[in-house]
């Protein structure tokens, strides 16, 4: 098969270079995922974008000064101009009345504009060495040399180690900066160090995915990871894994066909991971929340039908038929039948030849719903200016929401009332 041949070919020794580049790209994206977790948690997603666009002039100036394409010079240039951009954002924010989004947008476009102008100037300068500099716009991992990859990977790993060492400080300033200051942590240093790590990560990352897509590398893994966990350590782990796999696969895929770009593929794989996390996350995911809503819907139907059976059957003392139930309350038959079957399975009632026989458990459950309904009506009429005929509809909804704790609280608050505003008895 073509595919397997391709896989084998990929891992064979002739492709050592490509393998190293893929792994290197994976490590870079891993570092971005780790550092980016704090960018995300500190709600600085746009700062990531500012930094990544702002490294461009630094790279261009580094080339203009040295005249050679040396990744170390590029890195230094990128770090310097990235740091300047952050400093400008902070300074302007402290000293002016401009809103943060305005400052970010302005800084980003000014730096990027200058960068593009300088790059264009270099391209027309006739210096033969300049070819390929424009790859900083969209990145070009596959063209990295082995040496580049090794240098970048080491920097990325050092970055990750630093973040892990400073986990306590970084978490604290992300959650509660004032408290961190209050207990005497040197938060100016912690913040500056985090900013430095972010800038270094970006400066390295732009060599792989380019200026335009770099922010995605910082933010997307963290945004996805947040849907999977409520622990910061796990979040870092997931974010790092998303980054690594995407970085690796991105290069891998772009190698599979001619003219396949690397950076965009990394971002596409990354976005796919994040999307999956957003959809399938165990607690916060979209499907998990749909399931919660579905369960509520089931609970509401169960309770409503139990209540009706109880009422029609004269406080649950008489057996009623399904026909009586449909005549009294207009349920769609499909919904009614499925709910009745479910209630039978839950031992709330028995269905015998079209008759509905409420069990003790069912009777108690029905009384509970009615009790909650009436307690809520009493509560509303006692504490709010509501007419008696406005109470019922409200209570129809809230009777399903009241938890046992809230019920106890209501009973205590209302001093265990005996009758509701419509003179009906409260079934305890």
């Amino acid at each position: 098969m073509q595919f397997w041949k391709y896989i084998i070919q990929f891992f064979s020794s002739e492709n050592y270079t490509l393998f190293v580049v893929s792994a290197g790209s994976g490590v870079l994206c891993l570092a971005a995922g780790v550092v980016g977790t704090f960018t995300y948690l500190r709600k600085r997603a746009l700062i990531g974008d500012v930094i990544s666009h702002s490294v461009l002039p630094g790279i261009a100036i580094a080339f203009m000064l040295t005249g050679v394409k040396n990744p170390v010079y590029f890195l230094l240039g990128a770090i310097v101009s990235g740091l300047i951009s952050i400093w400008i954002v902070d300074y302007v924010q402290a000293k002016s009345k401009l809103k943060p989004d305005t400052i970010l947008a302005l800084t980003l476009s000014v730096f990027f504009g200058v960068g593009v102008v300088l790059l264009t100037k270099i391209q027309h300068s006739g210096n033969a060495a300049q070819s390929g500099l424009d790859s900083f716009l969209f990145g070009k991992a596959a063209s990295m040399s082995l040496l580049d990859v090794k240098i970048f990977s080491i920097i990325a790993i050092v970055n990750v180690v630093c973040v892990l060492l400073f986990l306590r400080g970084f978490s604290l300033i992300s959650f509660d900066e004032n408290y961190a200051k209050g207990i005497g942590f040197n938060i100016r240093f912690i913040k500056a160090f985090l900013a430095l790590l972010t800038v270094v990560t970006v400066a390295v990352g732009v060599q792989v995915v380019g200026v335009v897509l770099m922010a995605a590398l910082l933010i997307t893994p963290a945004a996805g990871a947040r849907f999977l966990t409520n622990s910061i350590r796990r979040m870092l782990l997931y974010s790092a894994s998303f980054g690594f796999v995407s970085g690796f696969l991105g290069v891998f895929i772009s190698y599979s066909g001619p003219g396949m770009p690397t950076g965009p593929w990394i971002v596409i794989v990354l976005s796919a991971f994040a999307l999956m996390a957003i959809l399938f996350g165990k607690q916060r995911g979209l499907f998990a929340r749909m399931r919660v809503r579905q369960n509520n819907y089931i609970k509401i139907n169960n309770e409503n039908i139990l209540k009706d059976i109880y009422k029609i059957g004269n406080q649950g003392t008489q057996t009623i038929t399904i026909k009586e139930l449909t005549e009294k309350e207009k349920y769609p038959s499909l919904l009614l039948n499925s709910t009745l079957k479910r209630l039978e399975k839950m031992d709330y009632l028995d269905l015998v030849r079209g008759m509905v026989i409420l069990s003790d458990k069912g009777r108690l459950a029905a009384r509970e719903v009615i009790r909650k309904h009436r307690l809520w009506e009493i509560y509303l009429s006692k504490y709010f200016q509501l007419e008696a005929d406005h109470l019922h509809d409200d209570a129809e909804g809230i009777e399903h929401v009241i938890t046992p704790e809230i019920e106890l609280h209501l009973i205590k608050l209302l001093e265990r009332p005996e009758i509701d505003p419509h003179q009906s008895e409260i079934p305890y």
């Binding site: 004032n178 408290y179 209050g182 910061i232």
Partner: protein, 257 residues
């Protein structure tokens, strides 16, 4: 009575607008002290200035007659709960652990003794059962208890609390106030930013009444008078607000020595 906090001619300016203006007072130790005043009167800023969270534009503050840095381990700070995004990936335990960071610094691991202190602090605010709960699932009252537990875990003698009663349920308010009484009995000093005038007399031994400038500072008995309350909350002092607005709009400097 010994002085625990000295605020000397303190001025804090945000932009051009003074949040605190030549505020000068001393607070006695082993008391429950309320800081009160209308919205925007600089109550939170005062706590932040004492904690070194905001830099004073003029004047200084002293705690235990010295620079805060020397005695920071004795001071527990409870920031305003509403200032924080509680949708942060952390459990109740994680937050209360922060109370031990002061002692352990940035890098040292928490010891078993630290963990015992954390559990005890959670127990004190009735939240031990919630230790593993994700903080975004807590009610306002529970969040406030967690912050309190974090401050207790710090094991200081001086507690600075920013609006601990804001937006909490009655049960939490009662719990906090009995905890405060208990702490006072144990010789702690509590400085509490507070909003509700109705409860001021029963909660506090001593009051600081602020409206950007200091209106009054003294034992509740002598300070909690109609005249002083009108001065603090009433119309007369909006003059200060008007002047502040002028300073802000026309970019006048605020002078101080």
């Amino acid at each position: 009575m010994n002085t625990i906090i000295e605020v000397h001619n303190l001025t804090v300016v945000y932009g051009r607008k003074p949040a605190l203006w030549n505020v000068d007072f001393e607070l006695p130790e082993k008391q429950v002290i309320g800081i009160m005043g209308p919205n925007g009167s600089g109550k939170s800023t005062l706590l932040k200035a004492i904690m070194g969270v905001v830099e004073p534009t003029g004047g200084f503050t002293k705690v235990y007659d010295t620079n805060l840095d020397a005695v920071r381990h004795r001071v527990s700070y409870v920031p305003q709960r509403q200032d924080i995004d509680w949708d942060f990936p952390a459990s109740v335990w994680d937050i209360v652990s922060m109370g031990r960071f002061q002692k352990r610094g940035l890098f040292k691991k928490l010891t078993t003794a630290d963990k015992d202190i954390i559990s005890e602090s959670l127990e004190k605010v009735n939240m031990l059962g919630f230790a593993k709960r994700q903080i975004s699932q807590l009610s306002g009252g529970q969040q406030q208890r967690v912050f309190l537990a974090r401050a207790i875990a710090q094991q200081g003698d001086l507690f600075l609390m920013d609006e601990p009663f804001a937006g909490v349920d009655i049960a939490t308010e009662e719990m906090i106030i009995s905890l405060i009484k208990e702490m006072k009995a144990a010789g702690k000093t509590l400085v509490i930013v507070h909003h509700d005038l109705h409860t001021a007399q029963s909660y506090f031994d001593h009051l600081v009444l602020l409206n950007t400038r200091l209106v009054a500072c003294g034992p509740t008995k002598t300070v909690f008078t109609d005249q002083i309350l009108t001065d603090t909350y009433g119309g007369k002092l909006t003059t200060i607000a008007k002047i502040s607005q002028e300073l802000e709009n026309k970019e006048f400097p605020i002078r101080h020595k």
